[in-house]
Amino acid sequence: MIRVVLPPHLRALARVHGEVTLDVPGPVTRGSVLDALEGRYPVLRGTIRDHVTEQRRPFLRFFACARDLTHEPPDAALPDAVASGTEPFLVIGAIAGG
């Protein structure tokens, strides 16, 4: 199971508490994790990446295993610790006020 930590506003929108756990078929990449996340919580479509281009929204970042993965290609493999469920994949709202 893949563990995903969402920012508070998206947790409220999806009506979840704490981490989200997902079954991700095939290679564990940012794209496949977000596909699984949006498949399970359709209300999140468009809130993390653009509906059409699938580009990351500008004020969001992706962290895991103490690394900034924001600018990694969406089809790059996530760290093994994320794929094994040892570490969560974090969706972070950039600290730009609030």
């Binding site: 506003h9 009506r15 359709p42 468009g46 929204r57």
Partner: protein, 392 residues
């Protein structure tokens, strides 16, 4: 017993203020969608329990919320009307994609940027939701960057009415200080095919074929901040309003100047008269007196607060030119709030109620058409919009 429901959008959530027809005691509920900007929330005239809200965030984008029970429960359209316990909401109600297909006739991809260069159209948020007068599932959405969208399925899917952006003047539209937003949608109650919209900074536009084709209606406007002050487009219209009994008469609060038209926008004339300043954002019309108009003068485009620190609503009973200050119950010293363009509304009770919200978080109500005012709430987040429903 009849009553009112005041729908308040703020920078950090939505609030619903409810009262009976006396409008002296209020129940305040909220915040709904806490932490998100609620640019606008409005109810359907065809079904008062059907409400729509524009929930938006610079981080997470646009969400459309819908209630079918007067605001008690909400859902993102596209799934079940109410949330099933333990199941997440569904739907793609936030999918606003500009129409760039050749079939739309004139796909348009750029507008004027602040520096005069051309800039691509980029969706940012929904500023205004205007439900159909007859169908609770039909809603218009005015968005930034300026365009008009429509849903016919209760907000599940949205389609751009591309004839507005594509009618030919789009490359001359430019953003105002708040962005390039389509913030006003006015439906003609006597003619379901007639729609008015206003855009900052492009001007006012009218469609006579239910939104398929559009024309600018800005003759008579004069704006010093564009190269040709009387140009066909480029004017920063802040708000327009009409009375249902006289749909060809519209009133406009422009960046500067309060204007009136008697011919559905074909020509405008200034009716600022004796106002202390004719800059402002809101304008509204008394529900029973078509000649009675309300504005809240703001000092200037550089200083967005009331002149002299006195919060005053001005009322004209003569369709403009002659204005009286309404001050009873409003702060008359040290007040430096703003009243944004969607933050005034009137109910249709007798005597009529007038409501407005401020960037200081106050929502003021008058149960006597403006003669006196009381705050319903004083300490909300900055108020972005105020709408009122008169309930049977």
């Amino acid at each position: 017993m009849s009553g009112v429901r005041v729908l308040v959008g703020t920078h950090k959530g939505a609030f619903i203020l409810a009262s009976d027809a006396k409008r002296s005691r209020w129940d305040v509920s909220g915040p709904l969608f806490a932490g998100w900007e609620i640019y606008h929330m409005k109810g359907s005239r065809a079904d008062p329990n059907r409400l729509y809200a524009s929930q938006t965030s610079g981080w997470f984008g646009q969400i459309i919320q819908r209630s079918c029970d007067g605001g008690k429960t909400w859902d993102t359209p596209g799934g079940a009307l109410t949330i099933e316990p333990g199941k997440p909401p569904a739907g793609e109600s936030n999918k606003f994609v500009y129409d760039t297909s050749p079939a739309s006739g004139k796909p348009l991809t750029t507008h004027q940027w602040y520096d005069g260069t051309q800039h691509p159209w980029e969706f940012k948020r929904v500023w205004h939701l205007e439900p159909s007068l007859t169908d609770p599932d039909a809603v218009y959405a005015g968005v930034e960057d300026a365009a008009l969208f429509q849903t016919r399925d209760g907000g599940k899917t949205w389609r751009e009415l591309a004839g507005l952006r594509g009618h030919g003047t789009g490359p001359q539209w430019q953003p105002g200080a708040g962005g390039m937003c389509l913030h006003t949608v006015v439906l003609d109650p006597s003619n379901p095919r007639r729609i008015y919209v206003a855009i900052s900074a492009a001007g006012a536009f009218r469609s006579d074929d239910a939104g398929q084709t559009w024309k600018p209606i800005n003759r008579g406007l004069r704006s010093q901040y564009i190269p040709n002050p009387t140009a066909e487009v480029g004017h920063c219209v802040h708000r327009i309003a009409l009375h249902p009994s006289r749909p060809n008469v519209l009133f406009m609060q422009k960046h500067w100047d309060v204007m009136r038209t008697d011919d559905a926008g074909d020509s405008w004339r200034e009716v600022s008269g004796n106002l202390p300043t004719d800059f402002g954002f809101v304008i509204d019309v008394h529900p029973h007196e078509p000649e009675t108009v309300y504005v809240v003068p703001i000092k200037s485009d550089a200083e967005h607060f009331p002149p002299d620190g006195k919060l005053r609503v001005y009322r004209s009973r003569t369709s403009g030119n002659e204005w009286e200050a309404l001050t009873k119950g409003l702060p008359q010293r040290d007040c430096f709030v703003n009243v944004l363009r969607d933050a005034m509304a009137v109910d249709s009770l007798e005597p009529s109620g007038v409501y407005f919200g401020t960037t200081g978080g106050q929502v003021y109500a008058s149960a006597n058409a403006g003669d006196s005012w009381e705050p319903i709430v004083r300490d909300l987040p900055a108020v972005l919009s105020v709408e009122v429903q008169t309930l049977p």
